[in-house]
């Protein structure tokens, strides 16, 4: 029994599964965690200091405003609720498009992963359409849906759909054959094997696809708002650029960084809470 993991935790999923694109900071304990925290703080502090130094003494502070200047600009924008309004409108666009796109992607993915004929019929179309990035779809989306919320929902949906769809199909295909056969021997019928074995086995792939899609949604919402919106972070960028307000541009850029990071963390928190038992590994060997 000495080879049992003696971490003292019984939560599966603290071990990150192979191929995890983000084999990042899982629940670390004790000194390791404190060390990571310290290094993160040091990294940010050094980066800001170098930035402050360079933009004060080397570069034109109008083109690259120093961080202290950026913070000074940010405070009234935060206080007045301007940033919050832009953040919440952009976030709601991302969330609606992401949730609908993920839902359709997962449902279609498990069906296409399981039904060979359906896959072979639709795969050529998917293989062509998936190269149309949300940015490429902006002009037609504006014509179809106008510059209101619907066009943004559509663009995020479009970007999310293909990423989640393809990773879900891959997950269904990689459900270990031995696991399906084991269930079959134990008496499961085809539907039970599909619902109770194949879908749970593909959860790690689905979640990875969703995380990639979430990141891509953050990248596509900005061009969508720059080109076709009158609100949101992208619009803030566009407006500030027109008025040559580099300070405000940097506030918007920093906001995107922080927002993406926070949302990804929240996503992972929920995955760890709800799906951890499905995330522990793909194979034990």
């Amino acid at each position: 029994m000495t080879n049992l993991r003696e971490s003292g935790t019984t939560i599966p999923g603290t071990r990150s599964w192979t191929g995890d694109l983000f084999a990042a900071i899982h629940a670390r304990i004790g000194d390791g965690y404190r060390r990571t925290l310290l290094l993160t703080a040091a990294s940010l502090l050094i980066a800001f200091s170098v930035w402050q130094f360079l933009s004060t003494f080397v570069f034109n502070p109008f083109l690259i405003p120093p961080p202290l200047e950026v913070f000074r600009t940010a405070i009234p924008m935060i206080m007045s609720g301007e940033i919050l309004a832009d953040v919440s409108i952009s976030m709601s666009r991302v969330l609606v498009g992401f949730i609908v796109g993920s839902f359709v992607g997962v449902v279609a993915g498990v069906l296409l992963g399981r039904i060979r004929l359906l896959h072979d019929l639709l795969d050529p179309i998917i293989e062509l359409l998936r190269f149309l990035s949300p940015t490429a779809m902006i002009p037609i989306a504006v014509i179809w849906f106008g510059i209101g919320e619907l066009s943004k929902y559509f663009l995020i949906f479009w970007g999310t759909l293909f990423i989640v769809l393809i990773s879900t199909i891959a997950g269904v295909w990689r459900a270990p054959i031995a696991r399906q056969r084991a269930a079959e021997c134990l008496g499961a019928n085809r539907l039970q094997i599909f619902v109770l074995i194949v879908i749970p086995s593909s959860v790690p792939y689905i979640v990875t696809g969703m995380r990639v899609a979430m990141a891509s949604s953050f990248m596509s919402i900005i061009p969508a708002e720059i080109l076709a919106a009158d609100s949101g972070i992208g619009y803030l960028l566009e407006k500030s650029s027109m008025l040559l307000q580099t300070n405000r541009i940097f506030v918007a850029l920093l906001t995107i960084c922080i927002l993406g990071f926070v949302v990804d963390r929240i996503f992972r928190f929920f995955v760890d809470r709800i799906l951890s038992r499905y995330m522990s590994f793909v194979s034990l060997t």
């Binding site: 993991r5 269930a183 079959e184 038992r277």
Partner: protein, 271 residues
């Protein structure tokens, strides 16, 4: 062919002159050609041969995962079509075969649930088999938290819980370290003796076959593999490899397998 058995004369599984051909885009491959086999009730049969001899294919056919091209497979005198409730397969890679999102207890419960065993019986069945394999104290753990040997014991418990007649085991202990494997051998033998199961055990390890089996079927290298010989192991268990009779048998099997091994290497060199 020797069909006598230590405990019973009834034949449970009968394989009549089967042929198995795999068709793929790269051509057709005759895996098995003219294999016949009778497995008796309560028997411990080992299928032994070098890799590429089709022993796993034969096991998959017995399980009902693969259809035969020619010939017939009978279980209790009824043709095998698909996986049956009387036969449970046991896999080498426990990581793939277990349900990693279910705890030890839930893994065992799965079979009871899908077989619609009355709920009131679940706790006693789960208790019985988890105790039998010594996992009673670990019932809330997940497969990832178990050692390799414990995972294989969980597979045994999960299989036994649905009370099959036959356990089909595909090199079940090949990926375990030597000490754990020895321990698993005695666990398996003890369970076999206590439960009267029939076991068909695939291995490429001569010593493992001799330590476990009532009867060993030696398989030839493909294409067109057959069972070339059946050997009875008529020694009391636990067996000792230094026992002269056993050692003699070991040498005999080794000399039977030597040309097969050479052939399997030749096949690799000239595809």
């Amino acid at each position: 062919m020797d069909t006598s058995c230590t405990r019973s004369e009834a034949s449970l599984l009968r394989v009549n002159n089967i042929q198995k051909i795999f068709e793929s885009s790269r051509g057709r491959y005759i895996a098995l050609d003219g294999v016949s086999l009778t497995i008796n009730d309560g028997e411990f049969l080992c299928l032994l041969g070098p890799s590429g001899c089709g022993k796993s294919t034969l096991l998959n056919i017995l399980a009902g995962f693969e259809p035969v091209t020619k010939g017939s497979v009978l279980s209790d005198n009824t043709p095998v079509r698909g996986a049956g409730r009387d036969r449970v397969m046991f896999f080498q890679d426990a990581g793939s075969a277990l349900f990693p999102w279910l705890s030890v207890e839930e893994n065992v419960r799965f079979g009871l649930r899908v077989r619609k065993v009355p709920k009131v019986e679940w706790p006693s069945i789960i208790d019985k088999y988890l105790k039998m394999v010594g996992l009673d104290a670990h019932r809330t753990k997940f497969p990832a938290e178990l050692s390799g040997g414990m995972r294989q014991r969980l597979q045994i418990a999960r299989a036994l819980a649905v009370e099959p007649d036959v356990l089909l085991m595909d090199e079940p202990f090949a990926s375990l370290d030597a000490l754990t494997r020895r321990r698993m051998h005695s666990v398996l033998l003890e369970i076999w003796q206590r439960t009267d199961k029939t076991i068909v055990f695939v291995t490429h390890d001569i010593a493992e076959a001799i330590l476990l089996a009532d009867r060993i079927g030696i398989m030839s290298v493909g294409p067109g593999s057959v069972i070339t010989e059946f050997l009875k192991v008529d020694r009391p268990r636990p067996r000792d490899l230094t026992d002269p009779t056993v050692a003699q048998l070991f040498n005999r099997i080794e000399s039977l397998l030597a040309p097969e091994l050479a052939r399997s290497e030749q096949l690799l060199e000239s595809p």
